[in-house]
């Protein structure tokens, strides 16, 4: 379909328009030149981009640093790792240093041992020679930039990261499927049938839109306890599945599907269930997609409720597990940082692919 042409563009002949990249960049406000407002706009957006992104970028950069690099102060921007060398006669690889010798020459040596402020080093090319003793301030570590995955490997091995990941995936997927199914069924019932109490039910559901989990923590926990779902992923998945937002969103959408469609299907002998899953569900796909995206976000990031329901380590979701580790007195940043990056990665990937749907979904429904 042809795009409507605005009168402004129309009145100016094409040949007079500036061309090329620069022209594209400066094509502002319908005019052709930068105004002061444009400069401020770009300045604000660029500073804003820095404020929004820099903390995340710093986390990602730091996650590649060695354990020693992480406690370094002031910190380096890029992840540096100590250069090591294999020397015959030593089991462990030795660390390389540039040592300033007494005669002023600089030599690249491997450190064998360090006692207090003194370090003993040998020449890796000639390990049999007499070791050199120097003050530690006279040696400079040989380092290289390395986006090493060592932290990631160790974090995954030493912590039940994969268990948490598995739990999070199970909770997110199962909860989203259940949410979509039961919410769409309820929305179908509320939008396509006439029955007594329909409006009352809808009003009750609506009125709980503003009731957050924090208000009903204690009795909700009792109910979970009675059902036997404490320390059970079911206790995390099921209670949040009957979302008022989901029912509301889907009902509003299904109201726009013409009832005649359902009538003619009934005349053709379709059962109600068939009408639901073969006519209404496919037609409500856009609304279902929005709800699915939100459900994934809600469940993946959920914290307070799983924190209460799950107390056994092997059942923790990623968020609860991450919190448990960072709460240790001796914070092991070289494990926490890579795990945090791995936790934010899936959502980032989802966002990169679906950002248009997510942003328009929020703008049109006003929910999160």
């Amino acid at each position: 379909m042809a795009q409507p042409v605005s009168s402004k563009t129309y009145s100016r002949p094409y040949a007079e328009q500036p061309r090329g990249v620069l022209a594209f960049l400066t094509r502002l406000q319908g005019g052709t030149r930068f105004t002061t407002t444009d400069i401020f706009t770009y300045l604000y957006l660029i500073v804003g981009t820095f404020v929004m992104f820099a903390p995340v970028l710093w986390l990602v950069l730091s996650s590649f640093k060695s354990e020693r690099g992480l406690v370094e102060f002031p910190p380096t921007l890029l992840p540096y790792w100590q250069q090591t060398v294999e020397v015959e006669g030593y089991d462990q690889p030795l660390e390389l240093y540039d040592v300033t010798l007494e005669d002023g020459t600089v030599k690249r040596l491997a450190q064998v041992a360090r006692v207090g402020i003194m370090a003993r080093l040998i020449d890796p090319a000639n390990p049999e020679a007499e070791p050199v003793q120097v003050n530690i301030n006279q040696r400079q570590a040989v380092r290289y930039v390395n986006f090493s995955l060592q932290n990631y490997q160790e974090a995954i091995q030493k912590f039940p990261f994969l268990t948490y990941l598995g739990n999070s995936v199970v909770v997110t997927v199962a909860a989203t499927v259940v949410t979509l199914l039961i919410n769409s069924m309820a929305a179908f019932g509320l939008s396509k049938y006439q029955f007594r109490g329909r409006d009352t039910i809808f009003l009750i559901i609506l009125s709980t839109l503003m009731v957050p989990v924090s208000v009903i923590l204690i009795p909700a926990f009792l109910v979970i306890n009675e059902v036997g779902w404490v320390n059970n992923l079911m206790g995390v998945i099921i209670p949040g599945a009957a979302t008022p937002t989901g029912v509301f969103l889907l009902r509003q959408y299904m109201l726009t599907i013409p009832d005649e469609l359902l009538e003619s299907a009934r005349i053709d002998g379709a059962t109600e269930w068939r009408i639901y899953w073969q006519i209404v569900l496919p037609l409500a796909a856009p609304a279902l997609a929005v709800l699915a995206i939100f459900s994934v976000m809600w469940r993946w990031n959920d914290f307070l409720w799983p924190l209460i329901v799950l107390s056994r380590t092997e059942l923790f979701t990623l968020q609860v597990g991450l919190n448990a580790f960072q709460g240790d007195l001796n914070v092991q940043w070289h494990y926490i940082l890579p795990m945090t990056v791995l936790t934010l990665l899936p959502i980032t990937v989802v966002f990169a692919f679906l950002q248009r749907y997510i942003t328009t979904g929020i703008a049109t429904t006003g929910l999160k």
């Binding site: 903390p55 949040g240 940043w333 703008a363």
Partner: protein, 339 residues
């Protein structure tokens, strides 16, 4: 199936089945065997109840029932969560919460931590919402201009919204710690190390800033949608009447954006009142009770001190505040709509 398709008017397009939807169709088709006998028995109009049943069951058991039970907890005492083991004490819990020698000084209260939580939450709500509204509006205005890379900038400002509160807290904890990047920059610029998370005032400051950082993008999007719904002819008409950017903002943008601003204000207040997650991870309410907020008070009172009655009474008060805010929203929203 073919007859079914033929009856659908041409104007409605049924999406072409892809493998996923075909699988889904096969799975959902099985339910036919469950639902068909039910329909034969009850008639098709009553099927509505059956469609509503699963949702209403979960809704009733896990949301509605707890809402009612909360009252019971609020009026009983005992350290057992089981209903039968609790004794009725009437309004004692609420009285205990409200028991203060001076309402202006939390330390004179029986439950001084509750009142500190209330005070902190009040401060948090006012400052965080102010930050969100001011910067959200500026960002939305900037993004509403014809600029290069608009989609990119919009995504950038929205990105933190998607991060989980735990991740947000860890990102900032790493930046703000004693040997963190921010302190390195301050020392590099000739300053002295600042105990960002160990000093009460600084901790409060950062909890608020981080809250706004993580939430702003969401409200920016809503404001942007509001801005885009303002018809452009109004600005053109304004230009004929001799408006400059400032007056057109004051007399066209602002009045027409009021309903959206109102939605943003109410949503952000309701969310800010319930602040918990990122603070719990970042400061755990500390240092002292500097960042203790009302939901954390409820959480620790109930699940660490096992004083369920007191915590339930506090959640009743929180629910009351939220209800007032919601009613307030409906009232004012109607007035804004009418205007």
């Amino acid at each position: 199936m073919t007859t079914l398709r033929e009856t659908i008017p041409d104007s409605i397009e049924i999406p072409r089945p892809n493998p996923i939807s075909r699988l889904l169709t096969a799975v959902l088709g099985v339910f036919d065997y469950v639902f068909e006998p039910l329909e034969k028995r009850f008639g098709f109009q009553r099927m509505a109840y059956i469609f509503l049943l699963p949702n209403m069951l979960i809704f009733g058991i896990f949301i509605l029932l707890p809402m009612l039970l909360n009252f019971y907890y609020g009026f009983t005492a005992g350290d057992s969560i089981l209903l039968g083991n609790r004794r009725f004490i009437g309004t004692d819990n609420i009285a205990k919460l409200l028991d203060c020698a001076s309402i202006f000084d939390p330390s004179t209260c029986n439950q001084d931590r509750f009142w500190r939580g209330v005070g902190n939450t009040g401060l948090f709500v006012v400052t965080e919402v102010a930050l969100i509204v001011v910067f959200g509006l500026i960002t939305a205005l900037a993004l509403n201009r014809k600029i290069f890379g608009r989609g990119f900038f919009r995504s950038v400002f929205f990105y933190p919204v998607l991060l989980s509160p735990v991740v947000v807290a860890l990102i900032w904890k790493w930046l703000l710690q004693q040997d963190g990047l921010l302190n390195a920059i301050i020392i590099g610029a000739g300053g002295t190390r600042v105990p960002f998370l160990l000093d009460g005032g600084w901790a409060q400051f950062w909890v608020i800033v981080i809250g706004a950082w993580a939430q702003m993008g969401f409200f920016t999007l809503i404001l942007l949608a509001g801005l885009q719904s303002i018809p452009p002819d109004l600005y053109e008409a304004g230009q004929i009447d001799g408006t400059n950017p400032l007056t057109s903002f004051r007399f066209i943008t602002l009045p027409l954006l009021m309903p959206t601003m109102f939605v943003v204000l109410v949503l952000s207040v309701i969310r800010a009142v319930q602040i918990f997650d990122h603070v719990y991870v970042l400061t755990n309410g500390g240092p002292g009770s500097a960042t203790l907020y009302i939901v954390q008070y409820i959480y620790t009172t109930a699940f660490q001190n096992r004083n369920y009655g007191l915590a339930a009474a506090a959640s009743l008060l929180l629910a009351l505040v939220l209800m007032i805010l919601t009613v307030f929203q409906l009232r004012l929203g109607r007035r804004v709509d009418a205007a």
